[in-house]
Amino acid sequence: MGRGFLRKLDVKGGNLADVAAVLNEFQRSVQGEPSAKVEGNKVTMRCAGFCPIMRAALTLNIPWIWLDTNYALPVIEGVASIVMPGIKMRLASMKSRGDSACVYIFEL
């Protein structure tokens, strides 16, 4: 998926700006609001509102937090690591834990 976005955007990767661009493309593909941006030496992404994982959790009757931990977060981290190998992702807040938005921070 990450490679597909790299090809679509025609970028080589290897820098934070490309990570933000690919994450925004990923957001667009899932009807989310592109919000990834470079802030100093990290990329932040804030996802508020409805997301496909919430919908899947409701449809399949699976705990949202389980689906986030075991599916969504590895996918997002995987997409980012294709653009910039070695990049680490951490979460400042999670909707599935009752927060108002999911805030992702990507840094080396």
Partner: protein
């Protein structure tokens, strides 16, 4: 109440209901026993229960399973030698399954029911004791009733803004002592255990939906902002492009599908919550609480509280339906906009084809006139060929005089030829 001589004998039963996925009752009981052994020095196994000595006080713990839930019940008998504040501040925390040490995986009880059972001589003493407990626990005592020869008061949950599934019960047997009193109390405790289990079911359902409840507001904001933006662009001076309309429709369709799923799932959860509340209703009916003096009964107040637990599900459904209606309205408006655009295009096309038709007709008329001229020219030339050998000298004059006749004949020929058209 100061001094041990003024205290009535007190027993406390604490029931913590929790779930351990994939674990059998014995395994859970063993883990709890292990955790207790690590934490307390004197732990003895006695049949199905564990006895823990802590200072002068003995505690009895049992684990049992019902409908997929485990109930950790701790019984503590204090006699008369205790300080109520110390009991509330320290002893009640002794067997919290959330705090039993590192050997036990963190377990969050779905519901915790603590039952204070001081012995009282009569109902008036019991009511004043209930008031004292209410004061010590800083929880108002909204109702009082008589249940199976015991005074029952369920103290109000601490924070009414947040859904609470923990309860403090005050249960004091009156008029009976000894074995008979114990029997009656145990029968009420058995009902309270069922209440704790059904409350845990409700708690589990509520906890599984809590993140969805909190995500609703940001979702509403997002839908509102997006749809406002679409509307603004629709009615704005710049016409919306087909690409924009397509992306809006894709967004609306996706969100509508999500909201439909949300409504469907939450309707199922609401039904489940209603079913649990109806089970709780049956249990309270079984307790057959009798009103005491002018106090409201615990049954009325508790059932009101439990019915209130269904409200978050109902609010969620109503708000989601409102959001869906909003999206449907925007969808209709986009459709109307598209249909207007189509009509506009069709009118423009009609106008263009009309203009083309007029141009064609004009061209045809020009051709027709040209045709007349050609025929007239041809006839004139023919006449000149005839006039030249016959009237050699006046051929030019005669040919010129023939031109009007040639024109009349060619008009006649033209009309004759185009009569059918």
């Amino acid at each position: 109440m100061q001094g041990s001589e003024t205290h009535p004998p007190l027993s406390i039963v604490k029931m913590q209901v929790f779930q351990c996925d994939g674990k059998a009752k014995d395994a859970v009981a063993d883990e709890i026993a292990e955790a207790l052994t690590r934490r307390f020095e004197k732990v003895a196994v006695s049949g199905d229960s564990l006895e823990v000595s802590f200072g002068k006080i003995r505690h009895r713990l049992t684990v049992d399973e019902s409908s997929g839930f485990f109930v950790l019940r701790s019984n503590t008998d204090y006699g008369r030698d205790y300080e109520l504040d110390a009991v509330i501040k320290n002893d009640l925390r002794l067997f919290d399954i959330t705090d039993l040490g590192p050997s036990l995986p963190a377990l969050n009880p779905l519901s915790t029911f603590t039952v204070f059972m001081p012995v009282a001589e009569d109902e008036h003493v019991a009511v004043s004791l209930a008031e004292e407990y209410s004061r010590h626990l800083s929880r108002p005592k909204p109702g009082i009733g008589i249940v199976r020869e015991s005074v029952l008061s369920i103290l109000e949950p601490e924070n009414e803004e947040k859904e609470s599934f923990d309860r403090y019960y005050f249960l004091s047997p009156i008029h009976v002592v000894g074995e008979e009193a114990e029997k009656r109390v145990e029968s009420v405790l058995s009902e309270i255990r069922h209440l704790a289990i059904h409350t845990a079911e409700l708690s589990k359902l509520y906890n599984s939906c809590q993140s969805f409840f909190s995500a609703l507001e940001t979702g509403e904001m997002e839908v509102k902002e997006k749809t406002e933006d679409f509307l603004f662009k629709l009615i704005g001076p710049e016409p919306a492009g087909l690409e924009s309309l397509e992306s809006w429709l894709r967004y609306i369709m996706e969100r509508e599908a999500t909201i439909t799923t949300m409504i469907g799932t939450m309707q199922g959860n609401r039904l489940e919550a209603k079913l649990i509340v109806s089970k709780l209703d049956s249990l309270f009916r079984r307790l057959n609480e009798v009103r005491f003096e002018g106090y409201p009964t615990n049954t009325e107040l508790e059932l009101d509280g439990y019915r209130g637990s269904i409200e978050p599900f109902e609010r969620y459904i109503v708000r989601s339906e409102a959001m869906k209606t909003r999206l449907e309205t925007i969808m209709d408006e986009v459709r109307t906009y598209l249909s207007l655009q189509q009509q506009k295009t069709s009118i423009e096309e009609q106008k263009a084809s009309k203009e083309q038709l007029i141009r064609l007709v004009n061209l045809q008329e020009i051709l027709h006139k040209l045709e007349i001229l050609i025929v007239a020219f041809y006839l004139t030339e023919m006449a000149r060929i005839v006039f030249e050998p016959v009237f050699h000298d006046a051929a030019g004059l005669l040919t010129a005089a023939f031109i009007p006749f040639a024109l009349i004949i060619s008009v006649g020929v033209g009309r004759l030829l185009h009569r059918e058209h």
